[in-house]
């Protein structure tokens, strides 16, 4: 089973590339309205007790590189869903 997700391409750009241990996301938040949600996702993973689960690297213009450990992939997608950065997620 694979977790797939949908998002509004007018307000977000998401690409992901998997390696053996991680999935690397390149995320651009194009809408100001979604930006606070993205910061909440970052805050959640930075404040929890696991330091290497999801690592955020912020660049200019609301551009993020996010390195997600394979075992935290689902948690990360669900957190994006919770803050309405993705519209739906399902097991396929």
């Amino acid at each position: 089973m694979e977790l797939t997700y949908r998002y509004n391409k007018d307000v977000m750009e998401i690409t992901e590339a998997a390696s053996d241990t991680d999935v690397e996301f390149d995320i651009r938040v194009l809408s100001e309205e979604l930006w606070p949600g993205m910061k909440k996702v970052q805050r959640f993973f930075e404040d929890n007790r696991v330091y290497t689960d999801v690592l955020f690297y912020a660049y200019a213009d609301h551009h993020y590189r996010v390195i997600v450990r394979q075992d935290y992939y689902v948690d990360f997608i669900l957190s994006l869903l919770k803050h309405r950065l993705v519209e739906s997620a399902e097991w396929t």
């Binding site: 690592l55 690297y57 912020a58 200019a60 390195i67």
Partner: protein, 426 residues
């Protein structure tokens, strides 16, 4: 020897053995030891309370509150990323920059707090560069203990000495210990580069990814940051002036903490209080009462007399004995209980006619703080980093650390011996 003194020694040795064995949490063991001293009538409750050094506890609690609120602003991450960019994304330069930041921060915050702030950002940077975090973590452990040596508030042994010896001010610690800490750090930096440069290579693309980072994004709340920086600045200024103002260092730290809580509002208080390391605070309480049993039954006085006999009362020999004994003991035992035992012993030497105790206090501080670098269990900061690294899948083995830590610790104690000899004993 009186029966009570024998009981006190028995309890002390048992508790010490249990702390070393790490079978039961050290706070529980120390508190039980302290309570046994009271329950068995070796010290009464009033005397036990009198021996608890509330200045040490207040200083730790105050600083923990200030740092926990300041950490929330993202300031420490900002500094680390800013430094990584100043180092042009070069992994070796970043390792040195982070070690130097750790040393400086450890001098003005306590070193456990410093490594708790530095390790997460280290994982983040090393993951970005795809290099092993080990060289970064080990150099930060070493730097935190060196930096913590430089000031009264940098390392628990110094907090305890500063609190017990009222004549020694915040400035005295900086003037007397700061130069050694700086020299040791200057000697360590090229050694770090030689030891680790081949282990941390990266690609130009990954270097660029560090250079492109926007560190300003890391500061979440600018208003809170301004409040924190103002209070942190005032608190550090207060430490410099505490003797002139006739204030204890704990008063300065607690005034800073509660001023910050007043400025930030009630909502920050609950969270800030949960971040105070109460286990460490109660560990100190237990130890103070435990050692009070040895003081009140005259055991410490007898030990001091033996030490003076051993060195013939010679100040140079006594200083060197304290420096090396503290260093070796602190490398393999927790330096907090060791210093808690040594402080009354040195005070007792003063009562027995040793007129100039200053070299002995600095020898104890240097030995206990720098000695902590000798092994992975030598200081709380070492254990904290090892614990965090292990949890994240990068375990630091005892022997692996020993290979680097022990020779570097011996080197720092040789430097300290030369310094103590030429500055105080010539």
């Amino acid at each position: 020897m009186e029966q009570q003194a024998i009981w006190a020694i028995g309890i002390f040795l048992l508790i010490y053995a249990l702390i070393i064995s790490e079978k039961i949490h050290r706070t529980i063991v120390a508190m039980i030891g302290g309570l046994l001293m009271v329950l068995l009538g070796i010290v009464d409750q009033e005397t036990a309370l009198h021996h608890i050094d509330f200045n040490t506890l207040g200083l730790l609690i105050g600083m923990m509150i200030i740092v926990s609120i300041t950490a929330d602003t993202g300031l420490f991450k900002f500094i680390a990323i800013w430094a990584a960019k100043k180092a042009k994304g070069n992994p070796v330069s970043i390792m040195i920059a982070l070690a130097v930041i750790t040393a400086v921060a450890s001098a003005f915050l306590d070193n456990v707090t410093t490594v708790l702030l530095m390790v997460p950002v280290t994982f983040s940077i090393t993951r970005q560069l795809r290099v092993s975090p080990f060289p970064y973590l080990i150099t930060q452990i070493l730097a935190s203990n060196v930096g913590g040596t430089a000031t009264l508030i940098g390392d628990p042994p110094n907090i305890m000495i500063g609190s017990a010896v009222k004549e020694l001010s915040f400035m005295d610690f900086i003037v007397n210990l700061g130069p050694v800490a700086v020299v040791v750090m200057i000697i360590y930096v090229p050694i770090f580069i030689l030891l680790f440069r081949k282990q941390i290579q990266t690609t130009p693309a990954l270097t660029k990814s560090i250079m492109d980072l926007d560190e300003k994004e890391l500061i979440g709340d600018h208003k809170l940051l301004r409040k924190c920086l103002t209070v942190l600045g005032l608190t550090i200024l207060g430490f410099f002036l505490h003797q002139t103002l006739h204030l204890e260092s704990a008063t300065v730290a607690l005034a800073g903490a509660f001023l910050l809580l007043l400025l930030t509002g009630e909502h920050m208080m609950e969270e800030a209080f949960t971040k105070v390391e109460w286990t460490t605070i109660f560990f100190f309480v237990g130890l103070f009462v435990l050692v009070s049993g040895l003081v009140e039954t005259g055991v410490i006085a007898q030990l001091a007399a033996r030490a003076i006999e051993l060195t013939d009362g010679n100040l140079a020999a006594t200083s060197m004995l304290i420096l090396w004994l503290s260093a070796i003991a602190s490398a393999f035992l927790d330096n907090i209980p060791f210093v808690a035992t040594m402080i009354p012993m040195i005070q007792e030497m003063g009562n027995m006619g040793v007129s100039n105790l200053e070299p002995l206090w600095w020898s104890l501080a240097l030995g206990a703080c720098l000695g902590g670098n000798g092994s992975l269990i030598g200081a709380s900061a070492n254990l904290i980093v090892a614990g965090m690294a292990g949890k994240e899948g990068h375990p630091i083995r005892f022997v692996q650390y020993l290979k680097y830590g022990f020779p570097l610790m011996i080197l720092s104690i040789i430097v300290s011996s030369i310094y103590v000899y030429f500055r105080y004993l010539m």
